[in-house]
């Protein structure tokens, strides 16, 4: 029997299995176990959560393979890991570790300020961030099998996640109402491959699964993003920088499933302890923002 691995269908397929779920940032095997126990559909293995990367500054790179392997051994759910934008060697290393998904992430310091990784060259699938439809379709054009609308990671402020989800989903709605002869000019304007613009219009959604990320800190934040129309959520610093990570993690998982049921959302939001402290983005200097990384 002939079998084929690494097809776009199986890359995109794993993201489809994550839908309706919560992917949690973890920095130790113990945290990974807490995340799995709380019902996470996957974990993101990294050395420092975005809030600490912000606080400590310096160059943020791919995590130590030893740490990633330790986390992989601790859980049965998929494990993702981040590489720097354009750093295809970090990606090769992560692929050799048999990581389940690579996040080519603006949370780390970019290695290339012009080019992203050619993700079609890999068997392992990639997820990338986007702020608008053009950025999303450029990443998919390079081979990304999953997208996440960017928020401002490590702030606990959901405003940027909302802005970018609204932008991407709004542009898709606009695209659907556009006469076909205007698609080429639209593709040119947003800097996206024409074929993917056309496919998005026909589907009425991005051609791959699209999660929200960055600044999600409460069950209500997760449900807000779901009601806006994303397929699932990433929660970074919001869980393990809060007072009671296990409880908050389980509550965000429940809120992501029952995102339209306000009574359940009220119930799961009770007595979660201290949320992460958070930083108000409107008072943040432009130079400190990371969502703008990506080209």
């Amino acid at each position: 029997m002939e079998t084929t691995t690494g097809t776009f269908a199986v890359k995109k397929g794993l993201a489809q299995m994550l839908k309706g779920g919560v992917i949690m940032d973890v920095v130790t095997p113990a945290q990974a176990k807490i995340a799995e126990e709380a019902g996470a559909c996957a974990v993101m293995a990294l050395e420092r959560v975005p809030a600490d990367i912000r606080a400590q500054g310096g160059v943020a790179r791919m995590s130590d393979p030893e740490l990633i392997i330790g986390i992989k051994e601790a859980v049965s759910i998929p494990v993702m890991a981040k590489c720097r934008i354009g750093h295809f060697v970090e990606a090769q290393i992560l692929e050799s570790l048999k990581i389940d998904y690579i996040d080519e992430s603006e949370v780390l310091t970019p290695a290339d300020e012009e080019h992203h990784i050619l993700k079609h060259n890999f068997t392992v699938p990639f997820v990338c961030g986007c702020r608008n439809l053009g950025e999303a379709l450029r990443r998919i054009g390079e081979g990304a099998a999953m997208m996440r609308t960017k928020g401002e990671a490590g702030t606990g402020d959901v405003v940027e996640a909302v802005r970018h989800a609204r932008t991407v989903l709004g542009e898709i709605r606009r695209l659907q109402n556009m006469p076909e002869e205007e698609l080429m000019a639209f593709a040119k304007t947003i800097g996206a491959p024409y074929e993917l613009v056309k496919e998005t219009r026909d589907l009425g959604r991005l051609p791959v699964v699209n999660f929200a990320a960055g600044g999600i800190a409460t069950p209500a934040d997760a449900a807000l993003m779901m009601q806006l129309g994303v397929d699932g959520v990433f929660v970074g610093s919001g869980i393990f920088k809060s007072g009671d990570p296990a409880k908050r993690a389980a509550a965000i998982v429940k809120a992501t499933t029952h995102f339209r049921d306000a009574a359940i959302l009220a119930e799961v939001s009770k007595n979660l302890g201290e949320p992460m402290v958070g930083r108000n983005i409107s008072q943040m200097p432009e130079g400190e923002k990371i969502a703008g990384r990506g080209w």
Binding site: M1, T3, T7, V10, G13, Q16, M17, I99, T256, D261
Partner: protein
Amino acid sequence: MKIGVLALQGDFSEHIVMLRRIGIESSEVRLPAHLEGLNGLIMPGGESTTIGKLAVAFGLIEPLREFGKSRAIWGTCAGAIFLSKDAKRDQPLLSLMDITVERNAFGAQVDSFEADLEIDALKEATGSNNPYHAVFIRAPIIESVRGAARVLSALPDGRIVAAQENKLLATSFHPELTNDSRFHEYFLAMCR
């Protein structure tokens, strides 16, 4: 005919799209009350631990077991694990179907694959002789079947990837990720 799709987590909307395509009404099941009036239930792919924990948290385990005593249930991938009596580790299961499954039996995501299967039961039921193109994503295998459970499909090396026990159906792969509706039609016949 109305089919429910367990919508706790996973690719439930892909099943709903496929059912709509073949003209079947469906609804999302997140709470026990949503099982009312259904002729059958599909449990999608996703993470079986996540689905199991949410089913426990929202009181779905016993209602689903009751449902499965008289009506048809089909589990794809994570859904098949959830349907089984034994997943060889400690996680919530419906324990309805007399099969043992092994999770992630093919390895990591880089080992996920597509392959053409020859499935006699499907050929007989649908009258189509084309091979079945199956998509395996971090897939489980059905390690063994017991009692009334029988093998529907196995890989050339003998590993079981589809099984049926009366009105219960389990597949390691994802018919909802293809354009081929034969497996959905096969399941609908079980619901009638």
